[in-house]
């Protein structure tokens, strides 16, 4: 089912070796951001009720302002919830599929903006991985960079779990393809 959905036209003998998604820590940062966005209005209202009770009374006991606050509050939280959902879909739909012949990258960049790239393993020249930062070192995620022989230059995938192992696996697949095709980079 996965192959059928992600690879619309697999080559003969093509098999998915692994599917990569971004590390959960990236989405965790999004969760924290949305949590703050949801909590800050409550904190402001709490501070207002405690230190500026006159303003509080005006906001919640004045007919028109009260209506504005309620309508905007409802719309705000609906917006925060739906945008949070969209952030999850965005995170979920960023996928790298590595097969024994090709690498596919699917990147969702907001609504109605999806980029798909395909790279034949025979065109890969070099694969490297880098881990930068404290969180990345502790949680073992980083960027995998694939240098290609084509005009594209390079492919990179951020927030990959265990990037060094992934780079090593991809390099092994590239070696296999090149050995099988006798060094023909157009394979």
């Amino acid at each position: 089912m996965l192959m059928g959905k992600l690879l619309s036209s697999p080559l003969p003998g093509e098999q998915a070796i692994f599917v990569l998604r971004q590390h959960w820590y990236r989405f965790f940062k999004v969760v924290v951001r949305y949590f703050l966005v949801a909590v800050i209005p409550f904190a402001v209202l709490w501070l207002m009720g405690r230190y500026y009770p006159v303003l509080w009374d005006k906001l919640f006991n004045d007919g028109l302002l009260e209506i504005f606050v309620k309508l905007l509050g409802s719309l705000y939280y609906l917006g925060v919830w739906v945008f949070f959902w969209d952030a999850w879909v965005d995170h979920y739909l960023d996928v790298w599929v590595v097969t024994n012949l090709r690498i596919f990258t699917y990147e969702q960049r907001g609504l109605f903006n999806r980029e798909t790239s395909e790279l034949r393993l025979g065109r890969v020249q070099d694969v490297s991985a880098k881990i930068r930062g404290l969180a990345a070192t502790i949680l073992d995620y980083g960027t995998v960079i694939i240098q290609t022989a084509g005009a594209e230059g390079y492919f990179s995938f951020d927030y990959v779990s265990r990037p060094h192992q992934v780079a090593e696996k991809i390099m092994k697949l590239v070696d296999e393809v090149k050995r099988h095709d006798g060094g023909n980079v157009e394979a």
Binding site: L2, I67, K70, G73, L78, V82, W85, Y106, L111
Partner: protein
């Protein structure tokens, strides 16, 4: 000049419609480009439950308001003057 309150309700409902349209587009992306798994089903369910909850709470807060009353714009502007 008198403006009825239900004008604000109408603007609010247009806003809700736009946000929901955005949410539905997002769901469409998930169904079109993703693949069904336990995770997607659970997250979609949580999203729908959250949206229904927000609507329920909004309804509870908004229903007691008399939307047919009106307010005077000039009177309102004068009331904002602190001096």
């Amino acid at each position: 000049m008198l403006i009825p309150y239900f004008i604000f309700l109408a603007i609010y409902l247009i806003g809700v419609f736009i946000v929901l349209l955005f949410g539905l587009s997002s769901l469409w992306h998930l169904l079109r480009y993703g693949f069904l798994s336990l995770g997607t089903v659970v997250y979609t369910f949580i999203m729908i439950v959250g949206t229904v909850l927000i609507f329920f709470l909004s309804y509870q807060v908004l229903w007691p308001i008399d939307w047919w009353q009106s307010f005077d714009v000039l009177e309102f502007i004068i009331s904002l003057n602190p001096f």
